[in-house]
């Protein structure tokens, strides 16, 4: 197992390098004029030429690449063309907020989606099964913004139970400022025992989490159901049934471990989708996360920012897929070939 992980990490670093290289060159061939953006449209020719030198765009692209790579190793991701602030600083502010949201959503989706799927499979073709099916397809086919806006209309505007947008009230921020320990606001508020702030963030995160988890939830439920149906028809399960082992035990002990592998693969992939999805959701809920940042940097062709977010996305994928692969490697069907009993 140790060797496997080392191999995967080495592979991961390779992917990062290739992805970085590709993004670097792709972002340079897209027609765009960073120097002009840097100085503004009214600038004179001389100012623009100065900007080209300032940004190092006069050097041959191979040299720019080497320079960039060197800085990267020092943790310097360059300066955003649009906001003119260091990309590393901006990402450091944004990433934790998104990760908190995404992790909570995906874990909840898994914890809620699995039982729904199992229950559906168990009660195949009953009304529960059909409702679950329609519901999960429903939330999968709805655009995230529709889900978000309707949730807001119900829980904030109509019932007044939850706040409409934001990560926390400005007043809470002023009265109970969170000390930064890890950079993860929610975690920090717990560590420092700042319960007023924690409660506020928690309340604010309910709606974004509900919206974000809808996709992985629907997917988990559907996947679990269909794979479990398959597994329940395997010979060895039938044999167990024939031996008189209780159905509940069959499902939860013998079958579920066969399901988890694929479900986790799907979930790992959908975490990627969820990260991308945060683009829309963060903007609707005014959540200060990286989703907003990705969208804006790509639309503005802000290439240092694009490279920064791509590296982040690449790292996230590498880790997620590594987890998925390790779990597949642990899958009983892979390990103990065909000989369950």
């Amino acid at each position: 197992m140790g060797k496997f992980i080392v191999k995967r990490i080495a592979g991961g670093i390779l992917i990062l390098i290739v992805a970085f290289t590709m993004v670097f060159f792709l972002s340079r061939v897209i027609p765009s004029d960073p120097a002009l953006k840097w100085v503004g449209a009214h600038a004179t020719k001389e100012q623009k030429e100065a900007a080209i030198i300032e940004l190092g765009l006069d050097k041959p692209i191979s040299e720019q690449y080497v320079d960039y790579f060197k800085n990267l190793l020092k943790g310097d991701l360059g300066i955003s063309i649009v906001s003119k602030r260091p990309v590393a600083v901006e990402l450091k502010e944004a990433i934790p907020n998104t990760l908190e949201l995404v992790f909570i959503s995906v874990i909840l989706a898994f914890l809620v989606g699995m039982p729904i799927g199992v229950y559906s499979a168990n009660k195949e073709n009953t009304i529960f099964d059909h409702t679950g099916r329609v519901f999960s397809v429903g939330i999968l086919s709805m655009p995230a913004f529709v889900v978000a806006l309707f949730l807001q209309m119900i829980f904030s505007t109509r019932l007044g139970l939850l706040p409409l947008t934001g990560q926390m009230e400005t007043m809470t921020k002023l009265m109970n400022p969170i000390e930064s320990v890890t950079g993860f606001t929610m975690l920090d508020s717990i560590i420092t025992g700042n319960w007023a702030a924690f409660k506020d963030i928690l309340i604010h995160s309910v709606l974004p989490v509900l919206t974000l988890m809808s996709y992985p939830l629907g997917l988990t439920a559907r996947m679990t159901r269909s794979i479990l149906l398959e597994v329940l028809n395997e010979d060895y399960i039938r044999a167990e049934r024939a031996y008189g082992i209780k159905e509940r035990k069959i499902i939860w002990i013998y079958s579920i471990k066969n399901v988890i592998g694929t479900v986790i693969t799907v979930l790992a992939l959908s975490t990627g989708y969820t990260l991308v999805n945060t683009f829309v959701i963060e903007s609707i809920f005014s959540w200060p996360g990286v989703g907003n940042y990705i969208g804006r940097s790509v639309v503005n062709l802000d290439y240092p920012a694009i490279i920064g977010v791509t590296l982040f996305a690449a790292i996230a994928y590498v880790i997620l897929n590594m987890i998925a692969d390790i779990i597949i490697a642990l899958d009983p069907r892979v390990r103990v070939v065909g000989g369950e009993d």
């Binding site: 086919s141 559907r222 028809n233 992939l269 897929n321 597949i328 069907r333």
Partner: protein
């Protein structure tokens, strides 16, 4: 890794039996329709296709469906004249959705088919052979997956030029890696099954094993995922319109309609809700059909 010989033989027997069973198209269709839900889904999809083909006849206001404005009747709530209401320029939303079926159905089906054509062979090979081939293919998917999809789209837009065709290519390119990974994961667990080893023992070629034994046994999750993705493709296509790559206003593409409606969601609920329902029904039907297909294709769930 000890394998039970009798079990092997048994499996092999089942595999052969299955192959004979769905050889003919007739049996296949018959099996498909045994499930009422699948039949229903099939009818809905057929209806959608017919609507798309005969849009000019079905749409009550064909010119508005294509974008002609009707400024005297902006934001009419659903009524006898406009059953789904009208939009911000007075156009009949029902007519627009009818015309939109043409664009949206073709975008989503073609995109997913392209993605599957790339993903299935790569996923099969990767999972079946393992080793270096697997490593290379999976690293390629990793690289694609780690790119922001919007960036892929922008790169394609700036090289191939903006058009609907290129939007489809862009989405398919962003989409296939996750299918490939999904198939691979399934293939890895299937290939360890005794009946596969049995086929190998009797000298069946790798190609044949992959195609007739592994593929049918590992297609289930991909069918579910693909049928669920129909909706996501429509919505992604709409986000590409934003960078000038996909359908452009006033084309009645569903995703574009629902994105435009977002601004009016509080006062004109019908503008969001009806396109939403249409996308939902379409995705649901494809999903039910996908489930039906899976049951027929997957030997285990069928032989009960």
């Amino acid at each position: 890794m000890v394998e039970d010989k009798t079990k092997n033989n048994n499996r092999m027997f089942i595999a052969v039996k299955i192959k004979n069973k769905y050889n003919s198209l007739k049996t296949f269709l018959k099996l498909l329709f045994t499930n009422k839900l699948t039949g229903f889904a099939f009818v809905v999809i057929a209806a959608l296709v017919i609507i798309a083909i005969f849009a000019p006849i079905i749409a009550p206001y064909p010119d508005q469906g294509l974008g002609k404005v009707n400024l005297d009747e902006v934001f009419q709530s659903p009524n006898a004249k406009h059953i789904f209401g009208t939009d911000e320029l007075g156009r009949d939303i029902f007519s627009r959705l009818v015309y939109g079926a043409r664009i949206s159905l073709s975008i989503s089906i073609i995109t997913i088919v392209i993605a599957l054509i790339i993903a299935i062979p790569l996923g099969l090979i990767s999972g079946y052979y393992g080793g270096v081939v697997d490593e290379i293919i999976m690293r390629i998917t990793d690289i694609f997956l780690s790119f922001p999809p919007l960036l892929i789209a922008i790169v394609i837009a700036s090289f191939l030029g903006p058009s609907l065709k290129n939007a489809v290519i862009a989405i398919a390119i962003a989409w296939w890696p996750s299918y490939a990974r999904l198939i691979r994961a399934q293939v890895i667990s299937v290939k360890q099954k005794p009946f596969i080893s049995a086929s190998k023992c009797i000298g069946t070629s790798d190609f044949k094993i992959m195609l007739s034994h592994i593929l049918p046994n590992s297609i289930a999750p991909i069918i579910i995922q693909a049928s669920m993705d129909m909706g996501s493709v429509i919505l992604t296509a709409a986000s590409l319109s934003f960078i000038g790559l996909g359908a452009q206003a006033p084309e009645p593409e569903w995703g574009l309609i629902i994105s435009t409606s977002r601004r009016f969601i509080i006062d004109a609920w019908w503008y969001t809700v009806y396109p939403g329902i249409v996308i939902f029904i379409t995705v649901l039907s494809f999903n039910l059909l996908g489930d039906g297909l899976r049951e027929v294709l997957d030997p285990k769930t069928r032989v009960r």
